[in-house]
């Protein structure tokens, strides 16, 4: 794969693969069949539905009432709640995996949330938009304004995303709280993994989002 191939084209959003989003397919692939999963910030339940088709016992938490009600109306086990305040109510080791898909940047205390994920679940899967993505950098450097993309279209004053980070920042946070990275993927604007084992700085530049499979007890 050449660098040119990972450069985004114009007018893009996540590419759909069948009825499911490519990043969801990647997350689902990281989950072992038959396990028990909590999806924090599950939106309208697309990922939970995907997991259900694979025989995975999925539960969800979602902040927006509309999202929750759509999930429940789909027959999913989803509760209305806030990742920042409600994760403390879950006991240790309640799940095999806790998933935080495109939600970390919207939490008030990402570090505390991350710690809770790995307390409640034996493993965590975290995906987030990479603010080190070259187009983000370019918008700030050349345009002189806060970056906006197809996947993050909100303006700075009305975005729910309050804690953006880069892939590099996230890796550093994982080191700091001794979280072990079992698997890391960077996805391009289409949601396709950057297949080559490229150095971190390349991922940080060309990954539109990062997806990490984490477990406890990582070493510095």
């Amino acid at each position: 794969m050449s660098v040119q191939e990972v450069l985004p084209l114009n007018g893009l959003a996540s590419e759909q693969s069948g009825p499911f989003r490519a990043d969801h397919l990647l997350v689902a692939e990281m989950v072992k069949p038959g396990s028990k999963v909590l999806d924090v910030g599950c939106g309208e339940g697309d990922l939970l539905q995907l997991l259900e088709t694979r025989g995975i016992d999925g539960r969800g938490i979602e902040l927006s009432r509309e999202g929750v009600n759509r999930c429940v109306a789909k027959g999913l086990a989803v509760v209305q709640g806030d990742a920042d305040t409600d994760l403390v109510n879950y006991p240790d080791d309640a799940f095999d995996y806790v998933i935080l898909s495109q939600t970390l940047q919207a939490t008030r205390q990402p570090k505390v949330v991350l710690e809770n994920l790995l307390r409640i679940g034996r493993r965590a899967i975290v995906s987030f938009p990479n603010f080190g993505f070259w187009r983000m950098r370019l918008q700030l450097l050349i345009g002189g304004h806060m970056p906006r993309t197809e996947n993050l279209p909100a303006s700075w004053y009305d975005t729910a995303n309050i804690h953006f980070c880069t892939i590099k920042d996230f890796v550093e946070l994982c080191d700091e709280i001794h979280v072990k990275m079992e698997r890391a993927e960077a996805l391009d604007l289409y949601g396709r993994p950057l297949r080559l084992r490229l150095p971190w700085w390349v991922w940080n530049l060309f990954g539109e989002q990062g997806v990490f499979l984490l477990s406890r007890g990582g070493e510095r």
Binding site: G75, V79, Y90
Partner: protein, 405 residues
């Protein structure tokens, strides 16, 4: 009716209901009845074995061959077993026909639906208005105090009698929701799924206070006679009507009352400068009070409100709610309404946290409405969508066929 002016209803003139209709239903309900003799006493929380006793119930639909499609509906404080048929006393349609019926989330062509009058009620199950076989007179205050767990224990005996081991679903709102939760705490393996609406695992201090207000209104009525009014052939209408009026306010919301009545006058343009029901909202409340007393027994109201007051699942499990649901495999759906101030969303959320802590499979939705606690009985499409989807997905997991074959 003395003192409370009745506003005629366009459909059911209040005069159409006689006290005889009500008292006849108490011992001889126009629905199925299960009799439990001396060999099957109901063991009450207060330590008394109630025997003999009877449970009046209605069923809709048919039990399938493997007895897996039974749904128990638990009624609220002043409800009864007549969920989806014309009420034998009031002549009104069933109280939950929005949820139960052909094409509804609980369709009798798919489920075998059971609803029983609670023990302590006055529509055919044994209660304070029933005849005490030991004396040949109405029980009155000699009837033992009952609890929500007692109601559920009696329902379990009925379900046994019907030859059903596991209920596909137990469904209820308000006091009915309390019974749903009690079912899951007491008989977790007998409940496949639980739909608990606008309820709580314990009655709050404010709700106990409202109930005490209602009871004091009944007891302050000189016709109450320490509960022995039946012997005198009278009924404390005024006290019970006031209790109902106060309670009815708690079932609505400020916004709903304002939308429905505002400050509009009743059949007049100017205030009368008297204590007549000048305002529509007063007239409405008086109607609610007067129509209620025609179908409900005052002592029964005391007993059932008391049962709700005593309800506290955590209290029965060392103060830790999650312990009540430890290891439970029942699928839960908890629903609350934004404007319900009797059983606010915070109560449902506390329940959901406990269920999460027990790793129970739970869905929880809060529905936006200004219609208050009563919303669960009204036409709220979002609620029906959720109830339908929850039951369908549970039915799929349970392997229920779509047709009842």
């Amino acid at each position: 009716m003395v003192g409370v002016k009745s506003v005629p209803s366009p459909t059911i003139p209040s005069s159409a209901i006689s006290a005889d209709d009500r008292s006849h239903e108490v011992d001889h309900p126009s629905s199925e009845v299960a009799q439990f003799g001396a060999d099957q006493p109901l063991r009450l929380d207060c330590g008394i074995d109630l025997s003999p006793f009877q449970i009046a119930y209605k069923t809709y639909g048919e039990l399938n061959a493997d007895r897996s499609n039974a749904v128990l509906i638990c009624h609220a404080l002043t409800g009864d077993q007549h969920v989806a048929n014309v009420h034998p006393v009031t002549g009104k349609s069933g109280w939950w026909e929005t949820l139960v019926g052909p094409g509804r989330p609980l369709d009798p062509s798919r489920y075998f639906i059971i609803c029983s009058n609670v023990i302590g009620g006055c529509m055919g199950s044994t209660g304070p208005a029933s005849i005490n076989p030991a004396t040949g007179k109405v029980w009155g205050l000699d009837f033992p105090v009952i609890t929500i767990p007692d109601m559920v224990r009696a329902q379990a005996m009925l379900i046994d009698r019907l030859g059903i081991d596991t209920l596909f679903a137990v469904v209820g709102g308000s006091m009915g929701g309390m019974q749903v939760l009690q079912w899951t705490a007491a008989y977790p393996t007998r409940v496949y799924s639980a739909l608990a609406i606008a309820c709580s695992t314990r009655h709050s201090a404010q709700n106990i206070a409202f109930h005490e207000l209602g009871r004091q209104a009944v007891m302050a009525d000189p016709d109450w006679h320490n509960g022995a009014y039946a012997d005198r052939g009278i009924h404390p209408h005024r006290g019970l009507a006031v209790a109902r009026m106060a309670a009815h306010i708690t079932y609505l919301s400020d916004a709903a009352l304002h939308r429905k009545f505002g400050r509009r006058m009743q059949d007049r343009d100017l205030p009368t400068f008297s204590f007549d029901a000048d305002f529509q909202v007063e007239s409405y409340l008086r109607y609610q009070g007067s129509s209620f007393v025609e179908r409900f027994d005052a002592n029964s109201y005391l007993y059932l409100t008391r049962a709700m007051d005593y309800f506290d699942i955590a209290g029965d499990h060392g103060g830790v709610l999650a312990k009540a649901f430890a290891g439970i495999e029942t699928r839960f759906c908890v629903v609350s309404f934004t404007s319900d101030w009797l059983f606010p969303t915070s109560e449902s959320r506390a329940l959901v946290h406990a269920l999460n802590a027990s790793s129970a499979r739970v869905s929880f939705a809060e529905i936006e409405t200004d219609r208050g606690h009563d919303a669960f009985l009204l036409d709220v499409p979002e609620f029906f969508d959720i109830a339908r989807a929850f039951l369908q997905s549970a039915g799929k997991a349970r392997g229920l066929s779509v047709k009842n074959d």
